[in-house]
Point group: C5
Chain length 86, copies 5
Protein backbone atom coordinates (compact mmCIF):
# COMPACT_ATOMS: atom_id res chain seq x y z
CA UNK A 1 0.00 0.00 0.00
CA UNK A 2 1.08 3.58 -0.47
CA UNK A 3 1.15 6.58 1.83
CA UNK A 4 -0.85 9.50 0.44
CA UNK A 5 -2.07 12.89 1.66
CA UNK A 6 -5.67 13.84 0.84
CA UNK A 7 -5.85 16.97 -1.35
CA UNK A 8 -9.54 17.50 -2.10
CA UNK A 9 -12.83 16.02 -3.34
CA UNK A 10 -13.17 15.17 -7.03
CA UNK A 11 -16.53 15.56 -8.75
CA UNK A 12 -17.36 13.63 -11.94
CA UNK A 13 -20.99 14.32 -12.84
CA UNK A 14 -20.67 12.28 -16.04
CA UNK A 15 -19.33 8.91 -14.90
CA UNK A 16 -19.76 5.15 -15.32
CA UNK A 17 -22.52 3.44 -13.36
CA UNK A 18 -19.95 0.89 -12.18
CA UNK A 19 -18.37 3.59 -9.97
CA UNK A 20 -21.77 3.84 -8.26
CA UNK A 21 -22.08 6.99 -6.12
CA UNK A 22 -18.74 6.42 -4.39
CA UNK A 23 -16.96 9.53 -3.10
CA UNK A 24 -13.68 10.24 -4.88
CA UNK A 25 -10.64 12.03 -3.46
CA UNK A 26 -7.54 13.48 -5.12
CA UNK A 27 -4.43 12.15 -3.34
CA UNK A 28 -0.78 13.25 -3.54
CA UNK A 29 2.27 11.09 -2.85
CA UNK A 30 5.77 11.89 -1.55
CA UNK A 31 6.93 12.91 -5.05
CA UNK A 32 4.00 15.27 -5.62
CA UNK A 33 2.23 12.95 -8.07
CA UNK A 34 -1.57 12.86 -8.03
CA UNK A 35 -3.91 9.85 -7.87
CA UNK A 36 -7.66 9.45 -7.48
CA UNK A 37 -9.15 7.00 -4.96
CA UNK A 38 -12.54 5.87 -3.69
CA UNK A 39 -12.95 7.07 -0.09
CA UNK A 40 -15.13 4.74 2.02
CA UNK A 41 -13.87 6.31 5.28
CA UNK A 42 -14.68 10.00 4.97
CA UNK A 43 -11.27 11.66 5.01
CA UNK A 44 -10.54 15.36 5.21
CA UNK A 45 -7.99 17.31 3.16
CA UNK A 46 -4.62 17.04 4.90
CA UNK A 47 -5.18 13.55 6.31
CA UNK A 48 -2.33 11.10 5.73
CA UNK A 49 -3.82 7.80 4.56
CA UNK A 50 -2.85 4.36 3.29
CA UNK A 51 -4.23 3.57 -0.14
CA UNK A 52 -4.92 0.07 -1.49
CA UNK A 53 -4.38 -0.67 -5.18
CA UNK A 54 -5.16 -3.26 -7.87
CA UNK A 55 -7.82 -5.98 -7.36
CA UNK A 56 -7.88 -5.40 -3.58
CA UNK A 57 -9.18 -1.87 -4.22
CA UNK A 58 -12.46 -3.24 -5.52
CA UNK A 59 -13.03 -5.36 -2.43
CA UNK A 60 -11.96 -2.48 -0.16
CA UNK A 61 -14.59 -0.25 -1.80
CA UNK A 62 -17.22 -2.45 -0.17
CA UNK A 63 -18.34 -4.27 -3.33
CA UNK A 64 -15.99 -6.04 -5.80
CA UNK A 65 -18.16 -4.80 -8.68
CA UNK A 66 -17.07 -1.21 -7.99
CA UNK A 67 -14.58 -0.41 -10.76
CA UNK A 68 -11.86 1.32 -8.79
CA UNK A 69 -8.12 0.55 -8.83
CA UNK A 70 -7.35 2.63 -5.68
CA UNK A 71 -9.26 2.85 -2.39
CA UNK A 72 -8.39 4.58 0.88
CA UNK A 73 -7.82 1.92 3.54
CA UNK A 74 -7.16 3.88 6.72
CA UNK A 75 -6.00 7.13 8.30
CA UNK A 76 -2.44 7.04 9.67
CA UNK A 77 -2.28 7.98 13.36
CA UNK A 78 1.13 9.65 13.38
CA UNK A 79 2.70 10.97 10.23
CA UNK A 80 4.34 14.19 9.16
CA UNK A 81 5.66 15.77 6.00
CA UNK A 82 9.19 15.36 7.39
CA UNK A 83 8.84 11.63 7.93
CA UNK A 84 7.75 11.34 4.32
CA UNK A 85 10.74 13.14 2.93
CA UNK A 86 13.49 11.37 4.89
CA UNK B 1 -7.26 5.99 -10.72
CA UNK B 2 -5.26 8.49 -12.74
CA UNK B 3 -6.07 11.92 -14.11
CA UNK B 4 -5.63 12.08 -17.88
CA UNK B 5 -6.41 14.53 -20.67
CA UNK B 6 -7.94 13.11 -23.86
CA UNK B 7 -5.69 13.68 -26.91
CA UNK B 8 -7.43 11.98 -29.83
CA UNK B 9 -9.09 8.85 -31.22
CA UNK B 10 -6.93 5.82 -31.98
CA UNK B 11 -7.81 3.56 -34.91
CA UNK B 12 -6.58 -0.05 -35.06
CA UNK B 13 -8.16 -1.72 -38.09
CA UNK B 14 -6.20 -4.93 -37.44
CA UNK B 15 -7.01 -5.83 -33.85
CA UNK B 16 -7.97 -8.71 -31.56
CA UNK B 17 -11.62 -9.75 -31.45
CA UNK B 18 -11.44 -9.58 -27.66
CA UNK B 19 -11.27 -5.75 -27.89
CA UNK B 20 -14.64 -5.95 -29.64
CA UNK B 21 -15.56 -2.69 -31.42
CA UNK B 22 -14.74 -0.55 -28.39
CA UNK B 23 -13.67 3.04 -29.09
CA UNK B 24 -10.08 3.78 -28.11
CA UNK B 25 -8.62 7.12 -27.03
CA UNK B 26 -5.03 8.32 -26.65
CA UNK B 27 -4.61 9.90 -23.20
CA UNK B 28 -1.79 12.03 -21.77
CA UNK B 29 -0.84 12.36 -18.09
CA UNK B 30 0.74 15.19 -16.09
CA UNK B 31 4.23 14.14 -17.20
CA UNK B 32 3.34 14.07 -20.90
CA UNK B 33 3.32 10.27 -21.10
CA UNK B 34 0.77 8.60 -23.41
CA UNK B 35 -1.65 5.77 -22.66
CA UNK B 36 -4.49 4.16 -24.60
CA UNK B 37 -7.89 3.54 -22.99
CA UNK B 38 -11.30 2.17 -23.90
CA UNK B 39 -13.81 5.04 -23.88
CA UNK B 40 -17.34 3.93 -22.94
CA UNK B 41 -18.41 7.53 -22.23
CA UNK B 42 -17.76 9.40 -25.47
CA UNK B 43 -15.12 11.97 -24.50
CA UNK B 44 -13.83 14.80 -26.63
CA UNK B 45 -10.19 15.85 -27.07
CA UNK B 46 -9.29 18.20 -24.23
CA UNK B 47 -11.58 16.57 -21.65
CA UNK B 48 -9.94 15.82 -18.29
CA UNK B 49 -10.95 12.31 -17.23
CA UNK B 50 -10.30 9.69 -14.57
CA UNK B 51 -8.97 6.42 -15.95
CA UNK B 52 -9.38 3.02 -14.31
CA UNK B 53 -6.61 0.42 -14.60
CA UNK B 54 -5.89 -3.28 -14.08
CA UNK B 55 -8.70 -5.85 -13.65
CA UNK B 56 -11.27 -3.12 -12.91
CA UNK B 57 -10.74 -1.78 -16.44
CA UNK B 58 -12.32 -4.88 -17.92
CA UNK B 59 -15.45 -4.55 -15.79
CA UNK B 60 -15.61 -0.79 -16.46
CA UNK B 61 -15.58 -1.50 -20.22
CA UNK B 62 -19.03 -3.03 -19.78
CA UNK B 63 -18.00 -6.67 -20.17
CA UNK B 64 -15.17 -8.37 -18.20
CA UNK B 65 -14.23 -10.31 -21.36
CA UNK B 66 -13.07 -7.08 -23.03
CA UNK B 67 -9.27 -7.25 -22.92
CA UNK B 68 -8.42 -3.72 -21.83
CA UNK B 69 -6.17 -2.66 -18.96
CA UNK B 70 -7.34 1.00 -18.97
CA UNK B 71 -10.87 2.41 -19.28
CA UNK B 72 -12.16 5.97 -18.95
CA UNK B 73 -14.38 6.15 -15.85
CA UNK B 74 -15.67 9.72 -15.84
CA UNK B 75 -15.20 13.32 -16.94
CA UNK B 76 -13.86 15.63 -14.21
CA UNK B 77 -16.14 18.64 -13.62
CA UNK B 78 -13.47 21.16 -12.68
CA UNK B 79 -9.86 20.71 -13.62
CA UNK B 80 -7.19 22.83 -15.24
CA UNK B 81 -3.66 22.43 -16.51
CA UNK B 82 -2.44 24.51 -13.56
CA UNK B 83 -4.02 22.27 -10.97
CA UNK B 84 -2.27 19.35 -12.59
CA UNK B 85 1.16 20.87 -12.43
CA UNK B 86 1.11 22.11 -8.84
CA UNK C 1 -2.85 0.05 -22.90
CA UNK C 2 0.55 1.23 -24.06
CA UNK C 3 1.90 2.25 -27.45
CA UNK C 4 4.90 0.17 -28.47
CA UNK C 5 7.01 -0.33 -31.59
CA UNK C 6 7.90 -3.92 -32.53
CA UNK C 7 11.68 -4.54 -32.48
CA UNK C 8 12.17 -8.21 -33.28
CA UNK C 9 11.24 -11.82 -32.51
CA UNK C 10 12.42 -13.35 -29.25
CA UNK C 11 13.31 -17.03 -29.09
CA UNK C 12 13.28 -18.95 -25.81
CA UNK C 13 13.97 -22.62 -26.55
CA UNK C 14 13.95 -23.46 -22.83
CA UNK C 15 10.63 -22.12 -21.57
CA UNK C 16 7.63 -22.96 -19.39
CA UNK C 17 4.89 -25.12 -20.90
CA UNK C 18 2.36 -22.52 -19.72
CA UNK C 19 3.65 -20.12 -22.41
CA UNK C 20 2.64 -22.79 -24.93
CA UNK C 21 4.17 -22.18 -28.38
CA UNK C 22 3.08 -18.52 -28.45
CA UNK C 23 5.22 -16.20 -30.57
CA UNK C 24 7.08 -13.56 -28.53
CA UNK C 25 8.12 -10.09 -29.67
CA UNK C 26 10.52 -7.55 -28.16
CA UNK C 27 8.77 -4.17 -27.95
CA UNK C 28 10.17 -0.70 -27.26
CA UNK C 29 8.27 2.25 -25.75
CA UNK C 30 8.61 6.02 -26.15
CA UNK C 31 11.42 6.11 -23.55
CA UNK C 32 13.42 3.36 -25.24
CA UNK C 33 12.57 0.75 -22.59
CA UNK C 34 12.10 -2.86 -23.72
CA UNK C 35 9.25 -5.26 -22.98
CA UNK C 36 8.34 -8.73 -24.21
CA UNK C 37 4.81 -9.57 -25.38
CA UNK C 38 2.87 -12.48 -26.83
CA UNK C 39 1.98 -11.67 -30.45
CA UNK C 40 -1.31 -13.28 -31.57
CA UNK C 41 -1.57 -10.95 -34.58
CA UNK C 42 1.65 -11.51 -36.53
CA UNK C 43 3.35 -8.11 -36.40
CA UNK C 44 6.45 -7.07 -38.28
CA UNK C 45 9.42 -5.13 -36.90
CA UNK C 46 8.62 -1.42 -37.12
CA UNK C 47 4.85 -1.81 -36.58
CA UNK C 48 3.36 0.50 -33.98
CA UNK C 49 1.01 -1.52 -31.76
CA UNK C 50 -1.13 -1.28 -28.65
CA UNK C 51 -0.14 -3.71 -25.92
CA UNK C 52 -2.45 -5.05 -23.23
CA UNK C 53 -1.12 -5.74 -19.74
CA UNK C 54 -1.98 -7.51 -16.48
CA UNK C 55 -4.80 -10.11 -16.26
CA UNK C 56 -6.29 -8.95 -19.58
CA UNK C 57 -3.09 -10.09 -21.32
CA UNK C 58 -3.87 -13.71 -20.55
CA UNK C 59 -7.36 -13.47 -22.08
CA UNK C 60 -5.99 -11.53 -25.07
CA UNK C 61 -3.50 -14.34 -25.73
CA UNK C 62 -6.47 -16.53 -26.66
CA UNK C 63 -6.47 -18.69 -23.54
CA UNK C 64 -6.46 -17.37 -19.94
CA UNK C 65 -4.12 -20.19 -18.95
CA UNK C 66 -1.32 -18.67 -21.05
CA UNK C 67 1.05 -17.10 -18.52
CA UNK C 68 1.75 -13.77 -20.18
CA UNK C 69 1.47 -10.30 -18.62
CA UNK C 70 1.66 -8.44 -21.97
CA UNK C 71 -0.06 -9.21 -25.29
CA UNK C 72 -0.20 -7.24 -28.53
CA UNK C 73 -3.80 -6.11 -29.07
CA UNK C 74 -3.74 -4.35 -32.43
CA UNK C 75 -1.70 -2.49 -35.04
CA UNK C 76 -2.16 1.29 -35.01
CA UNK C 77 -3.30 2.65 -38.40
CA UNK C 78 -1.57 6.02 -38.23
CA UNK C 79 1.36 6.67 -35.94
CA UNK C 80 4.81 8.16 -36.30
CA UNK C 81 7.92 8.59 -34.21
CA UNK C 82 7.18 12.32 -34.02
CA UNK C 83 3.71 11.84 -32.59
CA UNK C 84 5.24 9.64 -29.94
CA UNK C 85 7.79 12.18 -28.81
CA UNK C 86 5.55 15.23 -28.58
CA UNK D 1 8.88 -9.65 -5.55
CA UNK D 2 10.82 -6.71 -4.22
CA UNK D 3 13.59 -6.38 -1.66
CA UNK D 4 12.64 -4.01 1.15
CA UNK D 5 14.05 -3.00 4.54
CA UNK D 6 11.58 -2.74 7.43
CA UNK D 7 11.43 0.80 8.86
CA UNK D 8 8.76 0.72 11.59
CA UNK D 9 5.20 -0.21 12.59
CA UNK D 10 2.31 1.79 11.14
CA UNK D 11 -0.80 2.39 13.23
CA UNK D 12 -4.14 3.20 11.61
CA UNK D 13 -6.79 3.33 14.33
CA UNK D 14 -9.46 4.38 11.83
CA UNK D 15 -9.29 1.71 9.10
CA UNK D 16 -11.43 -0.53 6.90
CA UNK D 17 -12.72 -3.76 8.40
CA UNK D 18 -11.39 -5.58 5.34
CA UNK D 19 -7.84 -4.99 6.60
CA UNK D 20 -8.88 -6.94 9.72
CA UNK D 21 -6.42 -6.51 12.59
CA UNK D 22 -3.39 -7.25 10.41
CA UNK D 23 -0.09 -5.67 11.52
CA UNK D 24 1.25 -3.08 9.08
CA UNK D 25 4.89 -2.15 8.49
CA UNK D 26 6.48 0.80 6.68
CA UNK D 27 9.06 -0.53 4.20
CA UNK D 28 11.79 1.29 2.23
CA UNK D 29 13.31 0.18 -1.08
CA UNK D 30 16.75 0.69 -2.65
CA UNK D 31 15.74 4.14 -3.91
CA UNK D 32 14.48 5.32 -0.52
CA UNK D 33 10.81 5.10 -1.51
CA UNK D 34 8.30 4.02 1.15
CA UNK D 35 5.59 1.35 0.96
CA UNK D 36 3.21 -0.17 3.50
CA UNK D 37 2.77 -3.95 3.79
CA UNK D 38 0.88 -6.46 5.88
CA UNK D 39 3.37 -8.36 8.06
CA UNK D 40 2.27 -11.96 8.80
CA UNK D 41 5.80 -12.94 9.93
CA UNK D 42 6.64 -10.53 12.74
CA UNK D 43 9.61 -8.59 11.35
CA UNK D 44 11.78 -6.15 13.23
CA UNK D 45 12.99 -2.75 12.02
CA UNK D 46 16.18 -3.27 10.00
CA UNK D 47 15.20 -6.71 8.64
CA UNK D 48 15.66 -7.14 4.89
CA UNK D 49 12.56 -8.84 3.50
CA UNK D 50 10.93 -9.91 0.24
CA UNK D 51 7.55 -8.33 -0.36
CA UNK D 52 4.77 -9.80 -2.50
CA UNK D 53 2.50 -7.52 -4.50
CA UNK D 54 -0.79 -7.49 -6.43
CA UNK D 55 -3.37 -10.29 -6.08
CA UNK D 56 -0.80 -12.64 -4.51
CA UNK D 57 -0.54 -10.23 -1.54
CA UNK D 58 -4.09 -11.05 -0.48
CA UNK D 59 -3.43 -14.80 -0.46
CA UNK D 60 -0.08 -14.27 1.30
CA UNK D 61 -1.89 -12.33 4.08
CA UNK D 62 -3.52 -15.61 5.06
CA UNK D 63 -7.00 -14.83 3.71
CA UNK D 64 -7.76 -13.59 0.15
CA UNK D 65 -10.45 -11.29 1.56
CA UNK D 66 -7.78 -9.17 3.28
CA UNK D 67 -7.54 -6.02 1.15
CA UNK D 68 -3.79 -5.60 0.93
CA UNK D 69 -1.70 -5.11 -2.22
CA UNK D 70 1.65 -5.80 -0.47
CA UNK D 71 2.56 -8.51 2.06
CA UNK D 72 5.91 -9.48 3.56
CA UNK D 73 6.80 -12.98 2.31
CA UNK D 74 10.05 -13.79 4.07
CA UNK D 75 13.19 -12.51 5.80
CA UNK D 76 16.33 -12.62 3.64
CA UNK D 77 19.13 -14.63 5.27
CA UNK D 78 22.09 -12.66 3.92
CA UNK D 79 21.72 -9.13 2.64
CA UNK D 80 23.49 -5.86 3.18
CA UNK D 81 23.06 -2.23 2.24
CA UNK D 82 26.05 -2.57 -0.09
CA UNK D 83 24.57 -5.47 -2.02
CA UNK D 84 21.48 -3.37 -2.55
CA UNK D 85 23.33 -0.42 -3.98
CA UNK D 86 25.60 -2.26 -6.44
CA UNK E 1 7.13 -9.62 -19.72
CA UNK E 2 10.50 -8.16 -18.80
CA UNK E 3 14.04 -9.05 -19.76
CA UNK E 4 16.19 -9.78 -16.71
CA UNK E 5 19.65 -11.19 -16.00
CA UNK E 6 19.96 -13.72 -13.18
CA UNK E 7 22.26 -12.49 -10.38
CA UNK E 8 22.17 -15.18 -7.68
CA UNK E 9 20.07 -17.42 -5.44
CA UNK E 10 18.13 -15.85 -2.58
CA UNK E 11 17.66 -17.76 0.67
CA UNK E 12 14.80 -16.94 3.05
CA UNK E 13 14.82 -19.49 5.86
CA UNK E 14 11.97 -17.71 7.62
CA UNK E 15 9.24 -17.45 4.98
CA UNK E 16 5.52 -17.90 4.39
CA UNK E 17 4.22 -21.41 3.74
CA UNK E 18 2.41 -20.06 0.68
CA UNK E 19 5.78 -19.66 -1.08
CA UNK E 20 6.20 -23.41 -0.58
CA UNK E 21 9.80 -24.55 -1.18
CA UNK E 22 10.10 -22.68 -4.47
CA UNK E 23 13.62 -21.59 -5.47
CA UNK E 24 14.08 -17.81 -5.57
CA UNK E 25 16.48 -15.84 -7.73
CA UNK E 26 17.65 -12.21 -7.56
CA UNK E 27 17.22 -10.61 -11.01
CA UNK E 28 18.56 -7.33 -12.41
CA UNK E 29 17.02 -5.29 -15.23
CA UNK E 30 18.52 -2.95 -17.85
CA UNK E 31 18.53 -0.07 -15.34
CA UNK E 32 20.32 -2.07 -12.65
CA UNK E 33 17.21 -2.45 -10.49
CA UNK E 34 16.76 -5.69 -8.56
CA UNK E 35 13.73 -7.99 -8.38
CA UNK E 36 13.09 -11.41 -6.86
CA UNK E 37 11.40 -14.19 -8.84
CA UNK E 38 10.39 -17.82 -8.43
CA UNK E 39 12.58 -19.96 -10.70
CA UNK E 40 10.80 -23.11 -11.96
CA UNK E 41 13.39 -23.62 -14.73
CA UNK E 42 16.73 -23.84 -12.91
CA UNK E 43 18.63 -20.82 -14.25
CA UNK E 44 22.27 -20.01 -13.65
CA UNK E 45 23.76 -16.63 -12.75
CA UNK E 46 24.35 -14.72 -15.98
CA UNK E 47 21.39 -16.22 -17.87
CA UNK E 48 19.17 -13.70 -19.64
CA UNK E 49 15.53 -14.61 -18.96
CA UNK E 50 11.98 -13.40 -19.50
CA UNK E 51 10.07 -12.83 -16.28
CA UNK E 52 6.29 -12.98 -15.93
CA UNK E 53 4.51 -10.65 -13.49
CA UNK E 54 1.18 -10.12 -11.75
CA UNK E 55 -1.50 -12.87 -11.59
CA UNK E 56 0.19 -14.85 -14.39
CA UNK E 57 3.22 -15.32 -12.12
CA UNK E 58 1.22 -17.52 -9.79
CA UNK E 59 0.07 -19.81 -12.61
CA UNK E 60 3.60 -19.86 -14.09
CA UNK E 61 4.97 -21.04 -10.74
CA UNK E 62 3.12 -24.31 -11.33
CA UNK E 63 0.34 -23.74 -8.78
CA UNK E 64 -1.88 -20.60 -8.59
CA UNK E 65 -1.77 -20.82 -4.79
CA UNK E 66 1.95 -19.97 -4.80
CA UNK E 67 2.12 -16.34 -3.65
CA UNK E 68 4.62 -14.93 -6.12
CA UNK E 69 4.22 -11.81 -8.28
CA UNK E 70 7.21 -12.64 -10.54
CA UNK E 71 8.24 -15.96 -12.09
CA UNK E 72 10.96 -16.80 -14.62
CA UNK E 73 9.27 -17.93 -17.84
CA UNK E 74 12.16 -18.88 -20.12
CA UNK E 75 15.83 -18.47 -20.99
CA UNK E 76 16.50 -16.19 -23.97
CA UNK E 77 18.51 -17.92 -26.72
CA UNK E 78 20.42 -14.89 -28.00
CA UNK E 79 20.88 -11.79 -25.91
CA UNK E 80 23.78 -9.59 -24.94
CA UNK E 81 24.44 -6.69 -22.64
CA UNK E 82 24.80 -4.44 -25.70
CA UNK E 83 21.39 -5.32 -27.07
CA UNK E 84 19.94 -4.41 -23.72
CA UNK E 85 21.49 -0.98 -23.59
CA UNK E 86 20.67 0.17 -27.12
Amino acid sequence: MQIHRVVRDLVTTKRLGTLQAKKLKVLVDAKGELDVAVDPIGCKPGDYVISIGYSAARIAAGDPRVTTDLTIGGIIDHWSEEEWRK
